[in-house]
């Protein structure tokens, strides 16, 4: 047991414990806050594992943005203070599948890696990650940026009632107008 092992164990325990509370807590907002704890502990695990940049990105994006969005949504959908009674479905299938997946994978990993020591990695620098992303992974990176853009547009369209959710009548009207425009454009194109 080295210092790193102790840290890994402690942070892992926090992460799993908080994760357990996320999926079992009857308090809506508290589950989001437990998620913050869990994700923070995972960021700590990244630090111990030498992925410093990933850890801070985790904090920046997950804790700073994703969880806040989730909490935001929970509050917008009128989360009460105190336990909510009807949050859960029957437990049996979920326990079977979830427990099976979790424990099975854990057993698999435990069997594969045993109690073997691995050399601790040197802390990753931003430079190295940068080289990786803009060297080997530049194409996925660009694809991701397009995905992000489309997600952005999608989220805006969904949440703006004036351009997103339309009543059928209005939608038909819009389609008709669009078709007309298309026809006009085609005519022009032929003329030109």
């Amino acid at each position: 047991m080295t210092v790193a092992d102790v840290l890994l164990l402690a942070l892992g325990a926090v992460a799993v414990g908080a994760g357990f509370l996320v999926v079992t807590s009857a308090h809506l907002v508290r589950s989001g806050l437990y998620l913050v704890v869990s994700l923070g502990a995972i960021a700590g695990l990244y630090l111990v594992l030498g992925a410093e940049l990933v850890a801070w990105v985790q904090i920046l994006v997950y804790v700073g943005a994703v969880v806040v969005l989730l909490l935001f949504a929970v509050m917008l959908t009128r989360a009460p203070i105190g336990p909510s009674p009807d949050l859960d479905r029957p437990a049996v299938p979920a326990v079977l599948v979830g427990g099976g997946a979790g424990l099975g994978l854990a057993a698999l990993f435990a069997d594969a890696f045993r109690w073997v020591r691995y050399p601790a990695p040197e802390p990753g620098t931003a430079e190295r990650v940068g080289e990786q992303i803009f060297g080997a992974w530049v194409l996925p990176f660009e694809v991701l940026s397009i995905l992000l853009l489309s997600a952005l547009v999608g989220a805006i369209v969904l949440s703006r009632p004036d351009i997103g959710a339309r009543t059928p009548a209005v939608a038909e009207e819009h389609e008709a107008v669009a078709e007309q425009n298309k026809a006009v454009a085609e005519e022009h194109g032929q003329e030109v």
Partner: protein, 318 residues
Amino acid sequence: MPLWLDLLIRVAAVLAGFLVLPLVVGQAEHKVMAHMQGRVGPMYAGAFHGWAQLIADGVKFVQKEDITPHDADRTVFRLAPIVALFPYLVVVMTIPIGPGLVAQSLDIGLFLVLAVLGIGVVAVLMSAWASANKYSLLGGVRGAAQLLGYELPLVLAAASVAMAAGTLSLPGIVEAWQPWWLIWQAPAGLVFFIAGLAEIRRPPFDMPIADSELVFGYMTEYTGLRFAFFLLAEYVGIVVIAALTTVLFLGGWHGPMEDQLGWLWTLLKIGALSFVIIWLRVTFPRMREDQLQRLCWLVLVPVALAQLVLTVAVKALT
């Protein structure tokens, strides 16, 4: 020097800075704001010009009853002020004061600072929701929208200067800094400063608090020491934003005799920026919620993006 002594000195220095600088800024705010409004401000606490006012305030806050609303979510309610204060403590640790004078030098210190500053939102949401008060909740939702929005120009502006310096380490950025960056990085600096103001919810960006419409926003239900924690977080926030702007855009310890007086230059620049923050608070009225978002998305973000392009262009040319 043994390791433990080194560590002890660092921790003590950070704690001292964490406790003293906000007090100085708070007192400066009392006095500067008063004089800008034609008043004299506190005069009695401590014999000379009320210098001990904030200490007296602290004593008062300690004596006050610690009230938790009946319907509140107690644990969350009580944790929120600590969560609000904690990120700033971490940030103060990484700010270089002089050449080699930094509590914890990190390879990607800038990233850490930006990431940790983002945790403040969670504290706002926690206090807002746990108070079981509609004003608090409104303030918290406003705060979350504001902080999420302004994080973008903040990060983009910081990215510009990091790109110019070619490093993410805060001391590294200061070392790479040159006087002409004052002009080259000026738009980014301005965007960073304004977005930073919004991040610490200072007037004119104090819509989450907005005492004339939302009572006191997410802090409405807080009393005594917990409220003092929020106030302390606000003042530390001023120091942190001023310090970050100094380090990133004003060249930190650069100045005459920087080897000996570097720390003094940094502190002076931080003080000047803190004064500007107070000045802005006195001068400008609170913005409206839609004006706030408009400023962020239609002004600051495009300016920050343009600055990124400019930075890349200059970097590529030189």
